[in-house]
Amino acid sequence: MVKPIATTRSATGVPTGRLAVWWVIASEIVIFGGLLASYVMHRLGHPEWATYAAHTNPWAGGLNTLVLLTSSLTAVLAHNAAERGNGKRAANLLMLTCVGALTFLVVKSFEWYHEISEGFTITANGFWSFYYCAAGLHGIHVIAGAIIMLFVAADARKNKELQRVELIGIYWHFVDLVWIFLFPLLYIAK
């Protein structure tokens, strides 16, 4: 089968699809990094934010950290399976990763529901604005990743386009990486 040029052309030695994902991640580093760096400098300039941060729920944040770490494991195991040509196993592991994404979003929803009902809304003060922006932007990435993963898994189950399993995996690990820094910033440093 003749592949479309976008998957065969490579000037850098990195396959084009994977190179594209790395460029996405490079831009995401600036997006999330800029947001988190702004949060850090505001937090250092406003020691009183510690009193607001005390209202975040570290147990919910901790549970979500465990969920994302585990979903990263299933994503890399899916990549490993795809690398060995086992599309069905890769698809199953990607579906497990999607379950992780769903669990993360459910926990986040409960967490936000309680915080908002206690009056800690996005307009309450600077801390909560950053909290909802950072966690919300991350949540959007979780949703996008899960949706893409469903499409990749559907193809992988038929042993088609297995290279995409690695590509969505790289993206998913980055989503996990962002949370690794969000967790101590929003839930631990009080």
């Binding site: 800029g34 760096a37 400098m41 490993n80 599309g87 101590p184």
Partner: protein, 158 residues
């Protein structure tokens, strides 16, 4: 190896698929990540601020390194990709260096930012040394008596 896998190796996967590990390796890395997470979670319970910060952010960096190296396979990726990511992190650091003095400090030699200083500051913090660390000659907080020799504040809060 099936033809599908050959096509996969040619079009999408790493140049050397054998560089990937067995599943047990990834499970071991995940185990280490979970232990590190448990330490960072337990840190605040000791109630020592410096230990909390070290366990939280020091471990976050270690966890990020483990994920990038083992799960994202940056260790076997082309150098170009690593350089690309490092440049982005460098630009981010430059951004922080350039902007943070204005955000983290609420006064300088010729300016002060009363709105930032007084924004949402609980009463007990305001009275317990909200002006701690103010440079000599800095503009006083609103309502406080100006220090002798204090420089006049720039017109208008920043």
């Amino acid at each position: 190896m099936s033809s599908n896998v050959d096509a996969h190796a040619a079009h999408g996967s790493h140049a050397d698929p054998h560089a990937l590990h067995d599943d047990s390796h990834y499970i071991k890395v995940w185990g280490i990540l979970v232990v590190l997470f448990a330490i960072s979670f337990a840190g605040p319970f000791l109630g020592i601020r410096i230990i909390t910060l070290m366990t939280a952010f020091g471990i976050a960096v270690v966890k990020a390194y483990l994920v990038a190296k083992n799960f994202m396979h940056l260790d076997i990726e082309k150098k170009f990709v690593v350089q690309l990511l490092v440049v982005c992190l460098g630009l981010l650091f430059l951004f922080f260096l350039g902007v943070s003095p204005d955000v983290m400090k609420h006064w300088g030699w010729n300016w002060r930012n009363d709105s930032a200083k007084n924004a949402n500051i609980p009463e007990h913090i305001l009275h317990e040394g909200g002006a701690e660390g103010a440079p000599e000659g800095a503009a006083p907080a609103e309502g406080a008596a100006p220090a002798e020799g204090a420089a006049p504040a720039a017109e208008g809060a920043k």
